[in-house]
Symmetry: C2
Subunit: 397 residues, 2 copies
């Protein structure tokens, strides 16, 4: 038996490993240092009270025969599916409850969903990108077409009608650049996808960070998206679920390719390959969508947005080009003085003990850029901003 | 874009849908009836106290900044991986901690793991079988070789050296038949797999129900298994986790095919395609392996085993052939009087309001057999056994 040889085409993923090795080495020679960590996109605030209460209540349900829950429906608790459809309705997007699938999180779903397409597909990925997009497609034996994004297009590339593809990844608000597609730009992609019979995988993990009213939260705000798009959502950043694990995926019933209905295919996939998401976790997730839960998570998001504002103010003062921050939890800055992204990483660590992520780790066209996550503690973020100004400013404070 | 056309080769899965439709129709015409449900393999007892306490404590951890946990390691909490390796050690099987992967449950893992093998493989499945084994392979485009099991071999087929395959499924204790492989029979399969370079997927979901000392709980009790087997385990039946979702998978470091190390491939798969299992759920799972947790889950298993004993006694009295029940939570009986499995289903529902699962639903060679789950309530199981004796006995009680 020869295993899946596509794995031999994967490059070793060194990004976060290299970062951790560099940090380790630094702390060995500077044991008393405090590091200002704004690298990895993990949240720092605890789960909100409404979720904690719902999780405890669900654990109690599992303690008594009268309220105990066994197997969950594979596509999600019908009540949670309705709750999520109602959340879309409040934002003007109409979905059927059985177009919403509860998942164990966006990263799991982004891997699993490729099964719908089979192998040997052509996949268009805008770069810089979340590295798992590329790796999951290499494992499947798909051909990846890299669409370079850059400063000249605000890291928001437009479709090229000379290129054709089966699957198109769009992440907006974007990881790592924080750039957001407006309705007009997204409309171009939807028209393009429909015209070439492709399917858009729309990663909406960061939609809760959008603050400008005209920026779409969902691709289903765009006309024509119901015949070409799957939307993959996460509660990880919205509600601090990185370690709790829950998300949801929307597959419209009009999404048909080659006479096959992708919604029905996903029902068949889930009922065959899973037994649903944990009862306890789904109860916790449902609490996010209550009035109380929404208020509490927006209080948390406000704190992360204050972190973003603080870093943006520092970069503005320094006159450094960046995008993101306003509608996204990531800030993507140009490294100063022509430094490479790893040179800038070393420089910040050595000089001011600030940790970010080198842009090169998100693909070749991320070289020369640097990502800050805004999920750190407010105190650390403030101090990091001050140190950035002090280090990079012409007039040191 | 043409989606995964393998889905067109799937048969519609009507088994549990047909059962639910028949029950619905019966209850419409008999609205006051109580049904004795021993069909679906879902547990009825609540989570044990040690698990409930650990789940509450983990939820509390998520409520405070000082104890909050974000992203978990993708392959599992290192402490839980060690705890599970220790559990094997106590039963005489030595594993490295990083040979143990924490999963969201066996059904999820049985679907995901096929990614290691790529497509177009030949897969050997003993029938009757859990229907998802076959369906997951059809979705992948693998060729399925059905190995028929029957009464003549005690539903425990031996390998046929004329057949070759890439992947071999073995489920012991078996769902649906409850049959168990002893060491000698399992040794034949391990030798066969090593000789043809195949990989065994050993489904050990029901190992905690084994009571005879000589029956192996793990394929790694068998010499040679470390070079040919992956073991997929579940806490669903062991600890009532059907709705809570956690399991584990063992991939030995010696498992190499075509110069590719399957343990390393799975690490790459998990780190690319998941963000690990929920912190809260992993903490609950860890409590199962404490002294207190082990005592409590064995108290629950004892109740299910008393259900099994009660049904076995009834079938013994009636002189009906069956297997399972002793080392498994399922009893697989021959339908009396040459009835087909669906005829027998209707007969039991109509005459004594007992619900089981028709053997035909697990593959053609399940025709003429019937499965009872022993996960129902003790009172219902006792009454069902009494009613079976009354209906099928020559000397009615």
């Amino acid at each position: 038996m020869i295993p899946n040889t596509n794995y031999q085409n994967l490059k070793d993923s060194y990004l976060f490993y290299n970062i951790s090795q560099k940090i380790k080495a630094y702390l060995e020679t500077h044991p008393d240092s405090h590091l200002y960590r704004m690298g990895i996109g993990d949240v720092s605030l605890p789960l909100c009270d409404a979720v904690i209460k719902a999780l405890h209540a669900a654990v109690d349900d599992q303690a008594s025969g009268a309220t105990f829950h066994g197997y969950m429906p594979e596509c999600g608790d019908p009540k949670l599916r309705k709750t999520i459809a109602d959340y879309y309705h409040r934002r003007g997007v109409e979905l059927l409850e059985d177009e919403v699938f509860v998942s164990s999180g966006a990263s799991d779903e982004l891997g699993d969903i490729l099964d719908l397409f089979g192998r040997g597909k052509t996949v268009l990925i805008m770069e810089p990108a979340y590295p798992a997009y590329v790796d999951a497609n290499i494992m499947t034996g798909n051909e990846v077409i890299h669409v370079p994004a850059g400063k000249e297009n605000g890291f928001l590339p437009a479709p090229d009608s000379d290129i054709t593809a089966d699957v198109i990844y769009i992440c907006s608000p974007n990881n790592p650049t924080g750039a957001v597609f407006d309705k007009e730009k997204l409309q171009q992609w939807v028209q393009y996808a429909n015209s070439i019979n492709a399917v858009i995988l729309f990663d909406a993990a960061y939609e809760a960070f959008i603050e400008e009213a005209e920026i779409p939260h969902s691709i289903f705000e765009i006309e024509g998206a119901r015949t070409c798009a799957i939307e993959i959502c996460s509660l990880s950043k919205t509600a601090g679920f990185t370690g709790t694990r829950c998300g949801y995926t929307v597959i419209p019933k009009e999404l048909v390719r080659g006479e096959m209905n992708l919604n029905q295919m996903w029902v068949r996939n889930r009922t065959t390959k899973t037994n649903g998401v944990s009862y306890i976790i789904q109860k916790g997730a449902a609490a996010i969508f209550t009035e109380e839960g929404q208020k509490q998570i927006h209080d948390n998001i406000k704190i992360y947005k204050e972190n973003a504002a603080c870093l943006m103010e520092a970069l503005d003062k320094l006159g450094i080009w960046y995008c993101g921050g306003k509608n996204a939890p990531y800030i993507w800055m140009k490294c100063p003085d022509g430094m490479s992204s790893w040179e800038f990483f070393d420089y910040l660590l050595e000089k001011i003990q600030v940790v970010g992520t080198p842009g090169e780790g998100f693909g070749a066209c991320g070289e020369g850029y640097f990502r800050f996550s805004t999920f750190g503690s407010p105190a650390d973020t403030k101090e990091a901003a001050k140190r950035l100004i002090s280090l990079l400013g012409k007039n040191k404070i």
